[in-house]
């Protein structure tokens, strides 16, 4: 019972300022990297790299600033289900638009 209580207390994790500072620096670094990469001539890879870095930054914000890494399984599942649904909807919409040879827009 005591263990249970301790585990519950641990589940409401207070994230330390040290982690916030590290994440802040990582996000600033990511911003610098994505601006730098945008001025390189990489053809089709430019948007891929920009979106990959943006997704990396977003993951840092969600996991640490928004505490999902330290949250309950319910919260983790909720966030994952939402992102999964978003990508399913975007993916299916784009697949539909880009696979039809309408060509008359």
């Amino acid at each position: 019972m005591t263990d249970q209580k301790e585990m519950e207390a641990a589940s409401h994790h207070v994230v330390s300022p040290k982690i916030y500072v590290i994440i802040l620096l990582a996000l600033i670094l990511g911003t610098a990297a994505t601006v730098w990469a945008s001025f390189l001539e990489l053809g089709p890879w430019n948007p891929v790299i920009a979106l990959a870095i943006a997704t990396g930054k977003a993951m840092l914000v969600v996991l640490f600033f928004m505490h999902v890494k330290y949250s309950s399984k319910l919260t983790k599942l909720t966030v994952f289900a939402g992102i999964f649904t978003l990508f399913t909807l975007i993916g299916m919409t784009l697949a539909d638009y880009f696979s039809r040879a309408w060509g008359q827009w």
């Binding site: 519950e8 589940s11 409401h12 207070v14 994230v15 330390s16 300022p17 916030y20 500072v21 994440i23 802040l24 996000l27 600033i28 911003t31 994505t34 601006v35 945008s38 001025f39 390189l40 001539e41 990489l42 430019n46 948007p47 920009a50 979106l51 870095i53 943006a54 930054k57 977003a58 914000v61 969600v62 640490f64 600033f65 928004m66 505490h67 949250s71 309950s72 319910l74 919260t75 909720t78 966030v79 939402g82 992102i83 649904t85 978003l86 909807l89 975007i90 919409t93 784009l94 638009y97 880009f98 827009w105």
Partner: protein, 251 residues
């Protein structure tokens, strides 16, 4: 709310009434469960927001694919310097907000007020820079509508931003599609700015309440959930910055 009082109905209930913080509602088992339920609800709300912005992002991707040259040329009209500055401002405000949550959790009233004030100020700086950017668009008649001006795209040599990006003149029908880019630009950044304005208003309310001693009594749900909202707005901007400002820099 931390200042609400628990009302006890009848003396016999008071006997069976276990000691609990005033902010614990009676339909919850304990404070932990109450906080989890509130956090869960906040995430559900944020997911509806994700779906809403997701629709705008999808529209942007489809139109960018259709009218690619127009979107590249129109994107060159945005200032990467202002965009990068604003990204840094917003990331920093997310950091100060996270520190605010920490101060509330560890019951530091002064630290909480300072964090909230800094977040408030950085939010205003972001909107100020956005105003400068919108001002440039208005001056060049790049706002969609009757006064929309195509000269930056038909005659790029006489436009500083287009010339700097080595833009070639677009044919008239493609140049007209730059208006689609700016429609999406104003819709997306405008909706984002509206979220910022709402956030700043709530921050003002929170500063007022925190000065009176709220949120540092162990009941941090409001600050925590507002933090989730503020970080969500930050994430939207991270993607807007990449999609609107950066991905068409070099074509």
């Amino acid at each position: 709310m931390s200042d609400s009082t628990a009302i006890v109905h009848g003396a016999h209930e008071a006997d069976a009434h276990e000691e609990h913080p005033a902010y614990l509602r009676h339909h919850f088992e304990n404070v932990e469960q109450q906080a989890d339920a509130a956090g869960f609800a906040m995430w559900l709300f944020l997911l509806t927001e994700v779906m809403f912005f997701g629709g705008l992002f999808t529209a942007y991707l489809i139109y960018r694919n259709w009218y690619y040259p127009a979107f590249v040329a129109a994107s060159h009209q945005l200032s990467v310097v202002w965009g990068t500055t604003n990204t840094a401002v917003l990331i920093f405000s997310s950091f100060t907000m996270a520190m605010g949550v920490w101060c509330a959790e560890t019951r530091r009233r002064k630290g909480l007020i300072l964090s909230l004030c800094l977040t408030f100020l950085l939010g205003l700086v972001f909107l100020g820079i956005k105003t400068i950017e919108y001002g440039e668009k208005i001056e060049k008649h790049h706002v969609p509508g009757f006064h929309y001006n195509l000269s930056s795209f038909l005659d790029p040599d006489n436009d500083a931003a287009a010339k700097a990006a080595n833009d070639k003149p677009l044919p008239l029908d493609m140049a007209r599609h730059t208006e689609v880019y700016f429609s999406l630009y104003f819709a997306m950044t405008g909706m984002h700015a509206l979220h910022m304005i709402i956030g700043i208003a709530i921050l003002g309310y929170m500063i007022f309440r925190a000065r009176a001693g709220a949120y540092t009594t162990g009941h941090v749900t409001f600050v925590e959930n507002f933090g989730l909202y503020w970080h969500f707005v930050d994430i939207i901007w991270i993607y807007l910055f990449a999609l609107l400002y950066l991905i068409s820099r070099h074509q």
